[in-house]
């Protein structure tokens, strides 16, 4: 039963585990290693890890249905791998002088491993274990600017809020077990009757998910944590961690909680609208680039929720497609913020005045990323966002389209504020000097730029995702 099948199905997790062990061996075995050689090695390994994901995707289950995988899951993991690789390359400037670079990667890859198990889970407890593995090391990562007090504050906020959300999840899971007697994803749909206790359990579970993807009203930790944590970690949080949570959320709602679709449609719809509205309104007044991106990522979560609420095959395909685009565009924006922060220490919108005159390439990367987040063509975000909205409006709810359209105008305003600072304004004080980048961050940013610009023109990417995504 086990044997070769195990190696094929859990291939992505195994490769990741090998990388983690290798790093641990280096850490314990050698006292003298230079950061640059570690970074070279890790980035190469991450590239291998990413490419290995494309080899022979297989369908199947392991461990008595605890673990499952298929083409869609493999693609989702590949997207997360891509995000991690880009984050790692963009963090080069910050990590090359850091004292604990190996620990950083061990923690980072452990969380990624947790996310993989979470996505592949076929049982709610397995899912919960993956979730914890994905959250707890992240708190340590948020604290990785060891000298900064803000960084430990961020870590503390993250661990408390994530413990709270885990509590909600566990409560929901136990209620579900109490009413159905099973936690297997394959058993649950038949056992769900939509009774009041089950609805309560569903609400608790959705609340737990909402924490992870920072949806209103569970978004309060987001801005503070993103601001305090090192930019590399914030980028990882906002893209990879959120992406993983969204993937599981869709899987859970579309396959497991399908009999209760009427109940969660309303919840998701209201949460989605509130999330985009509040995220956007708060973003308008931010002065710090990190906080701006934090609130923008809350608003994006609102769009994702709206897409999920569409409950159709187009809905699930659009969500995966959007996350792929979101990885590229959000990492473009965070990547620039990350190098600027690492090399000049500046993080406020005012500091970006006159940025275009000194750093044209970085300005363009940032601007295109922001346009993509705002949903302006030809950037890929346009397609991602519109497909989500089409999925959401598929139920015939036009109030939604109107609210979303209004939100896009608000969002456009604050993204343009940053573009305006970079391109139009003259610096009041000394502008950020011309930054000399290593080629790692350059490649990382380049992938984001090219991906954001071109992805929308290849319709068959969407078609492929559509063909394998979860029908409803």
């Amino acid at each position: 039963m086990m044997g070769t099948q195990f190696f094929w199905l859990a291939k992505q997790e195994l490769v990741l585990a090998l990388v983690i062990f290798l790093l641990l061996i280096i850490k314990t075995g050698s006292r003298t290693y230079s950061n640059t050689s570690v970074l070279n090695l890790v980035n190469a390994l991450l590239l291998v890890n990413f490419l290995a994901g494309f080899i022979a995707p297989a369908d199947g289950i392991l461990f008595n249905e605890m673990f499952h995988t298929n083409t869609l899951v493999t693609i989702e993991k590949n997207i997360l791998n891509l995000g991690t690789l880009i984050v790692s390359m963009q963090g080069y400037e910050w990590l090359k002088t850091h004292k604990h670079v190996i620990e950083f990667y061990v923690l980072l890859l452990s969380t990624l491993m947790g996310m993989f198990f979470m996505i592949s889970a076929g049982h709610l407890l397995m899912f919960y274990l993956g979730l914890e593995l994905a959250s707890i090391p992240l708190a340590a990562l948020a604290n990785f600017d060891l000298a900064k007090r803000q960084s430990s504050e961020a870590a503390f906020k993250y661990i408390i809020s994530s413990a709270f959300s885990s509590g909600l999840l566990l409560f929901g899971i136990s209620l579900l077990f109490g009413t159905t007697g099973s936690l297997l994803f394959s058993d649950l749909p038949a056992l769900l009757t939509g009774g009041p206790l089950q609805i309560f359990a569903l609400v608790l579970l959705i609340a737990g998910f909402a924490f992870k993807i920072s949806a209103v009203p569970f978004h309060w930790w987001t801005a503070d944590v993103y601001e305090g944590a090192p930019v590399t970690v914030s980028a990882y949080l906002s893209v990879v961690s959120k992406g993983a949570a969204v993937f599981v959320f869709v899987y859970f709602l579309y396959l497991v909680a399908k009999p209760m679709a009427a109940a969660w449609y309303t919840i998701l719809f209201i949460l989605g609208v509130l999330t985009m509205l509040i995220g956007n309104l708060f973003a308008v007044r931010q002065q710090s680039v990190k906080r701006l991106l934090a609130f923008s990522s809350i608003a994006q979560a609102g769009f994702i929720l709206v897409g999920i609420s569409g409950s159709s095959q187009a809905g699930s395909a659009s969500v995966v497609y959007f996350i792929l685009i979101y990885v590229l565009s959000n990492l473009g924006a965070f990547g620039v913020a990350s190098v600027v922060s690492a090399l000049s220490g500046k993080e406020s919108i005012n500091d970006y005045k006159g940025f275009y005159r000194t750093n044209p390439f970085l300005s363009w990367v940032m601007a295109i990323a922001l346009f993509s987040l705002a949903g302006i063509p030809p950037a890929a975000g346009f397609f991602g966002k519109f497909f989500l909205l089409f999925a959401g409006a598929g139920k015939g709810n036009y109030a939604l389209v109107i609210i979303a359209a209004l939100n896009m105008v608000i969002a456009f305003y604050y993204y343009l504020r940053l573009v305006r600072a970079m391109f139009f304004d003259r610096a009041d004080q000394e502008p950020i000097p011309s930054l000399d980048l290593n080629w790692y961050p350059k490649i990382g940013l380049g992938i984001c730029l090219v991906g954001t610009l071109l992805l929308g023109f290849f319709g068959h990417v969407y078609e492929h995702i559509y063909s394998i995504s979860i029908p409803f």
Partner: protein, 499 residues
């Protein structure tokens, strides 16, 4: 002929611009690209005429259909009728003239020409699209280049103007999007479609039309300075660099007019009929308000910007009147105004780069010093006030003639009011041109200023040729546009007779 070439050619040009080294190469590439665009557009006109005279009377010619996002029924469906061909020609003229007048750009040359040529790709894509999604895509593609062109290379309160323009246009797109989503989901039962040719012909239920028509019409209306959403026009135009002003007023505002016609009126004829009084009222206000507001302006760019509000009012008036002649006139007015306003902005730019002022009161006696620039300046003015023999007359006359065909007293009253605005136009145009180029020389250092250079002359001649070609022989344009207008109107008229 493959219509995608119209989009591919500018895209290749932008790519080459990016790869070019130095300002000289960039300009040479941009100029070559823009010239090829014009040749391509002229060839399209020729091929279109040949096809039509060979007896092909299908609604859209040169259709092609490529799958883009098949699961969502999104296709890149292209095709043109006479209206689109006219708009494509206009675009090609203005882009080439715009590249020519920007020849002396020295700051960030590469980015400037990149954005300028990129804009034209958006405009062509918009005019050839028969799929609502791609049409919307190209409409939005053009927003960011405008924003950057004004903000980086503009003058005056450019940051404010750029933000205002971008946000208002974005709001317009948001409205259009809402309407398109409604059409997509509500038309023709369960088979969702963005294809205009499928949707046309009353497939959209009347109730849906009545609800979504205002979204689409106002959304596109913002682009074409529909009163009271015209406020971005004066600020945007006056802060933009010359070529961008030409592009904004010459092409970008026409995207809105074309959208009002092709999407709103063509697809939702019942609603167009229903809302016609509103459209006519608003456009009459725009015509008169624009004319009087222009009277109060002292800055040449503001004069032209406010007069654009007034002139674009004629476009909307023609659309609102819903007769074959009036819609033909609306399209002719779009082309005519595009050429005329581009020429006007080009002349103002040339004057400004020499005298460093755009204030009417500070200029004077320039005709003797710069005969060429002053001549095109006066000519653009005369075209604006509707002098027979120039394109403005032919276009506005057609609109009036078409509008008068509507028997309703209120409509005729609106037509008379709109006609009367021409007197106001004459006042402000004659005052502005007279004061700035005739009379005594106001500043002695003007005496040494040079006349137009080769590139400026070429741009001026090009646009002038267009204006004269329409003004002296309007019938070719009328015949080109009229069948398309007929097709759009047919739906609306049919819907009345059924009731």
């Amino acid at each position: 002929m493959n219509l995608s070439l119209l989009v591919i050619l500018p895209l290749i040009t932008t790519l080459l611009v990016l790869l070019a080294r130095g300002g000289g190469q960039v300009k040479a590439i941009a100029l070559t690209g823009a010239t090829l665009q014009l040749l391509l557009a002229l060839f399209l006109l020729y091929a279109f005429g040949k096809e039509r005279s060979a007896g092909d009377h299908s609604a859209m010619l040169f259709q092609a259909n490529y799958s883009w996002f098949a699961p969502l029924h999104i296709y890149f469906h292209t095709g043109v009728d006479g209206i689109s061909v006219a708009m494509i020609l206009l675009t090609a003229f203005v882009v080439l003239a715009g590249v020519l007048v920007s020849w002396d750009t020295s700051f960030q040359t590469k980015e400037f020409f990149f954005l300028l040529v990129f804009l034209s790709a958006g405009a062509y894509g918009f005019f050839i699209s028969l799929d609502l999604f791609t049409l919307f895509f190209f409409l939005e593609v053009a927003v960011i280049p405008k924003f950057l062109l004004i903000g980086i290379w503009g003058s005056g309160k450019k940051e404010y103007s750029a933000m205002k323009l971008a946000l208002m246009l974005m709001a317009g797109s948001a409205l259009v999007f809402t309407g398109l989503a409604g059409i997509y989901f509500k038309a023709g039962g369960s088979a969702h479609s963005f294809d205009m040719m499928q949707l046309a012909g009353g497939l959209i239920p009347v109730k849906v039309q009545l609800f979504f028509f205002p979204f689409v019409f106002i959304g596109f209306g913002i682009f074409t300075a529909l009163f009271p959403f015209h406020t971005w026009v004066p600020d945007g135009h006056s802060s933009a660099p010359t070529a961008a002003s030409m592009f904004l007023a010459g092409i970008s505002m026409k995207l809105g007019g074309y959208g009002c016609l092709r999407v709103a009126t063509f697809l939702m004829p019942d609603a167009a009929q229903h809302y016609a009084p509103w459209i006519i009222a608003l456009s009459t206000i725009a015509i008169i308000y624009g004319a009087f507001a222009t009277m109060m302006q002292t800055d040449l760019k503001y004069i032209n910007a406010y007069s654009s509000v007034s002139h674009c009012g004629f476009v909307l008036l023609g659309i609102g009147m819903l007769t074959r002649t009036s819609v033909t006139g609306a399209v002719m007015q779009m082309v005519s105004h595009g050429l005329m306003t581009a020429l006007f902005f080009a002349a103002i730019g040339m004057l400004y780069s020499r005298t460093h002022t755009r204030m009417v009161a500070q200029l004077g006696g320039l005709l003797k010093i710069m005969p060429f620039i002053s001549t095109i300046f006066i000519l653009a003015g005369l075209c604006s006030l509707g002098l027979p023999g120039l394109s403005g007359f032919a276009a506005e006359m057609t609109v009036f003639a078409g509008a008068w065909q509507q028997p309703s007293t209120a409509y005729r009253f609106a037509t008379i009011l709109a006609c009367a605005s021409i007197v106001v136009t004459a006042v402000y145009i004659l005052r502005a041109t007279g004061q700035s180029v005739l009379g005594p020389v106001t500043d002695s250092h003007y005496e040494q200023l040079p006349d137009a250079k080769w590139n400026e002359k070429l741009a001026g001649i090009l646009l002038m040729a267009g204006i004269l070609a329409i003004g002296l022989a309007p019938f070719w344009l009328q015949q080109l546009v009229s069948p398309g207008a007929e097709q759009i109107i047919q739906q609306a008229v049919k819907s009345v007779t059924i009731k």
